[in-house]
């Protein structure tokens, strides 16, 4: 049905390798599946990829998003209302895989996955064409029952590191991680911030001492200027709440997909401009 296979390294590692060769940071937009509808999500994925998204995080809506600020909470509520259940999301992803090979990561909370069944979810997600899983409330200490079937099915588990994570702990987490590490840029929940934290670059540099995996940075990044700043030192920039807000503002309009695409293009331009192109590389 598609070209996905169950052997590492998968699409995520391959994408980071290509980008590294071009000296370019990845742009990872986050959108909640089903916001405002699964049909729109499919169109959004294709448009965001066309406009410069390198990987895409698909939010799996949950009734109790404990690590999300108001913008993503409302996006999750819209996704739930639109019927974006795990089976419906995976069906949409299967369809998407006929049209795109962009790496796709499911981003969500543990209970819907636990309820679906870790083994079954990993098998079904891999078959549908998902590349990685990021489960916000599943720290490595609790992740074994998901990590085992994930590895078996060639899915990366993306772990979060936070400003509160001690370096020794980061080292241990990095050892069990694959794909990339996700550094949470703020001590706080998701949501746009006016300013990036001052020690962000230093913190990411410090993490380089404990891992060779690519390091993505997210939570709070909402403008092209901020994306550019982060791209100077991180391997990937994740932008979520800002997109949720754009989608919300455009909720009843038909140009939602184009609007989101333009925003993503502006983010990617800023990210490209942040570093000199590798000699001989073509963007």
């Amino acid at each position: 049905m598609d070209t996905h296979n169950n052997t590492h390294p998968g699409r995520i590692a391959a994408r980071f390798r290509e980008l590294r060769a071009r000296n370019e940071a990845a742009l990872i937009p986050f959108i909640v599946a089903g916001d405002p509808s699964l049909r729109r999500t499919r169109e959004l994925v294709l448009e965001l990829e066309a406009r410069g998204a390198d990987l895409i995080e698909l939010g799996v809506p949950f009734s109790d998003p404990m690590a999300d600020g108001p913008a993503n909470q409302r996006a999750a509520a819209r996704g739930l209302a639109a019927g974006a259940t795990l089976p419906a999301i995976l069906a949409m992803v299967s369809e998407l895989r006929r049209a795109t090979q962009v790496p796709l990561i499911l981003f969500g909370y543990y209970n819907p996955i636990f309820h679906y069944g870790c083994d079954r979810l990993c098998a079904d997600a891999a078959r549908a064409g998902i590349d990685g899983l990021l489960v916000v409330d599943l720290p490595p200490e609790e992740a074994a029952e998901l990590a085992r079937p994930a590895a078996h099915n060639g899915l990366d588990i993306i772990y979060l590191l936070a400003p509160t994570t001690p370096l020794e702990r980061a080292r241990r987490i990095a050892r069990s991680a694959s794909g990339f590490l996700y550094y949470v840029s703020v001590t706080g929940v998701t949501g746009a911030r006016a300013r990036l934290s001052a020690d962000l670059a230093g913190n990411v540099e410090q993490l380089r001492t404990v891992t060779k995996l690519p390091i993505g940075v997210g939570f709070g990044i909402s403008t092209p200027a901020q994306a550019g700043q982060v791209a100077a030192f991180a391997d990937a920039v994740v932008v979520g709440s800002a997109l949720s807000l754009l989608i919300e503002a455009d909720y009843n309009e038909n140009d939602l997909v184009a609007t989101a695409g333009e925003f993503v293009a502006a983010l990617k331009d800023a990210i490209r401009a942040a570093r000199p192109a590798a000699p001989g590389a073509t963007a």
């Binding site: 543990y110 209970n111 636990f114 979060l160």
Partner: protein, 397 residues
Amino acid sequence: MQKLPDSRGRFGQFGGRYVAETLMPALFELETAYQQARRDPKFRADLKRYSAEYVGRPTPLYFCANLTAKLGGAKIYLKREDLCHTGAHKVNNTLGQALLAVRMGKTRVTAETGAGQHGVATATMAALFRRQCEIFMGSVDVERQALNVFRMKLLGATVTPVDSGSKSLKDALNEALRDWIATVRDTYYLIGTAAGPHPYPMIVRDLQSVIGRETRRQIIARENRLPDVIVACVNGGSNAIGIFHPFIRDAGVRLVGVEAAGLGLSGPLHAATIAAGSVGVLHGNRTYLLQDEMGQIRETHSIAAGLDYPGVGPEHAWLKDTGRAEYAAVTDAEALDALKALCETEGIIPALESSHAVAHAIKLAPTLPRERIMVVNLSGRGDKDMQTVATAFGVTL
């Protein structure tokens, strides 16, 4: 018998630490601080002194002669947690955790609250120990527990209404966790029940176990033996685990938890998690939850705001699965009848939450022989519920 929770915070398959990475180091810090504190004579002495002089412990164990005679079955005793300062058992937990917060140098204390009893108990401790205090409360509960909202404000706390989701206790908990993710360095999150991520279920249980230890001493002094049945209402399960825990090894003592059946278990409007739930992960622990077939958390209902939560503490899930405790459910209407019955027979106005335990005791007592002994944990007093009760009885205040 193995000591639980284990080092991973598990009671069998239940419990654990299912939280965002930002909070993990704080949970380890809390666990270490608590393990040190519980062994520290100074901490233990402070806890004991404030329990006696400030909270009013030990609380009486009262024999209900009238109710017992009326029902004609087992002897009914009430453990009078309603006589604690602030009006409920919640203060046993907030006192201990507030002392821990002071020890850890945390300048701000936060909590979620449903009925407002835990919010009041937290605000009280914040006033006593001069901490900043913010209480998160679902906007539906802000309305139905207006008196407690006023008490919290009077005590100097900020009360933040939570408008997301079902606007009640689970959403207040979500918001308290979100706040903690952003403020974890200087804030002590003071959870109000024996749930949440490890080590909270253990800490809350240990602090509430004073109820069961006293009950044990008191019933032996009075009856020269252990009780046959202990009944307590269960939401997250702190008052129940507090009175159950010192009796867990006494196989002859029946432990009965009572959940809120709301408008009845045949419909969706209840909060009987153990009776009608399935295993899942919410608010940091694996436990029984009320959820739909996709793992989305269901909205709940109980006339008692303090029982209106779709989860239950992990130790209760474990006690249920091992068969050591049994769990029943009582409807809004039965709880109201029990509240009235206790007022009329004993002159005691129980909280709506505690009325659930009383209602089950009223059902159970007549089925047992007269020489049997039953202890009901009267977790709180009903003053806070007068508006709700009046409305239910069709009275305008």
